[in-house]
Amino acid sequence: MKIKQMIKENNRLQDAMTPGNLSYYQDMVVYIRSSSVNEAKGEELLLEIGQHLLDAQAKGKTAEEVFGSDPEAYCKDLVEQLPPMKGLNKLQLHVMIPWISLTWFFFVQAIVGFIVTWTGGPVERMTQVRVSTLILLAGGSYILIQLIMKWMKNGTFQPEEERRKINIRHMGIYVVIAVVILVGGVWLGRLLPVLHIQPWVSLVIFVIGLLGTKLFFSSK
C-alpha cells in the first residue's frame, strides 16, 4: 500500500473514533509523524494501531485502556523500535524547506519585475537580489520551520491549559529568533554582493525550482 493511500485510510479510521479516542490517537499520529522514522513503516504502524483502537472501541474500551495512561512513554517505545529514516529521505527533508522558500521567492521576484517593467518603474532597483537575502531566506525558513515541528512534537500529550502556556512561551522565543535572523541578515548584507537578475531569469529559476519540487520532494 502506498503512503498516500495509507494516510487516506488513516483519516477514514479517525472519522469513526469517539472524541476521547480521537484526541488520544491524534497525539500519537503527530508524535510518530514528527519523529525521524521510516515514513512507510510509521504510517503502517499508525494504521495498525488505529484499526486496533476501533476494534477495541467496538467492545466499549477507551484508548487509555488499550495503550496505557502514559501515551508519550508508549510512543517513545514504538519510535525506538521503528526503523529510522533513510539517509536520502533525511537529506530530502532538510533540503526541501530552503528549496521551496527560494523557489517562491523567485516567483515573487519575477512577478514584481514584470509589473515594474510594464509600468515603467525602477527596473534596475527591483531586479536587485542581495546574496544575503537568499542566505537569510534559506537558513531562516529552515530554522523557523524546524522549530515549529519540534514544538509541535513537544506539545503533544500535554493538557490543553499546559499546551496554551507552552505556545505563548514558544511564540516569544520565535519572535526573538526571527529578529536575530533579520538583524544578522542586515549585517551580512553589507559584506555580500548584490546580483542583478532579470525578471525572465527569475521566472526560469522559479520553473526549475517547481519542477525540482515535484521531482525530488513529491512523496513528502
Binding site: 500500500m1 495509507m6 485510510e9 479510521l13 503502517e44 504502524l45 494504521l47 495498525e48 494501531i49 484499526q51 486496533h52 476501533l54 476494534d55 477495541a56 474500551k61 485502556e65 488499550v66 495503550f67 496505557g68 508508549y74 517505545d77 514504538l78 525506538e80 523500535q81 521503528l82 526503523p83
Partner: protein, 115 residues
C-alpha cells in the same frame, strides 16, 4: 527493566511465536488470543513495541492487506520466518526444562523422594 518484566517479555515473545506457528495473525486478534488464554498481565497495546522488535530481529514478518472477501479494513498479518520457527523450538525446549524444574521445587520443596 526488572528481571521479572524481562522474563515476562521472553515468555510473551514465545507465546506470540507459538500463536503464529500455523497461521497468520493480526494485532487485535493476537491480543484477544493472549487474553483468552489467560495472559491477562499483558496490556493490549504492549504487543506492538514487541511485534516491531520481533520484526527487526527477523523472527516474524508482516504484510498490510485488506481482509479476504474485500471491503474489509487493511490489517497487518504476521507470520513466522525460518528464524522465528527455530526460536520457537528453542523456547519450547527451555520452557519445558524450566517448567519441570519449577514444578519439582513447588511440589516437593526441592527434595527427591527416597524409597
Amino acid at each position: 527493566m526488572t528481571t521479572q518484566s524481562q522474563m515476562l517479555k521472553g515468555i510473551l515473545e514465545g507465546c506470540i511465536l507459538a500463536l503464529m506457528k500455523h497461521r497468520e495473525v493480526y494485532g487485535y486478534e493476537l491480543s484477544t488470543l493472549l487474553e483468552n488464554s489467560g495472559l491477562t498481565f499483558v496490556s493490549e497495546g504492549s504487543i506492538y513495541p514487541l511485534l516491531l522488535r520481533m520484526q527487526k530481529e527477523a523472527l516474524i514478518e508482516g504484510t498490510l492487506r485488506s481482509e479476504p472477501g474485500a471491503g474489509g479494513p487493511p490489517r497487518k498479518y504476521y507470520r513466522l520466518t525460518g528464524k522465528g520457527q527455530e526460536t520457537l523450538q528453542q523456547f519450547k525446549l527451555h520452557w519445558g526444562t524450566l517448567k519441570e524444574s519449577v514444578d519439582f521445587i513447588l511440589t516437593s520443596g526441592g527434595k527427591k523422594h527416597e524409597d
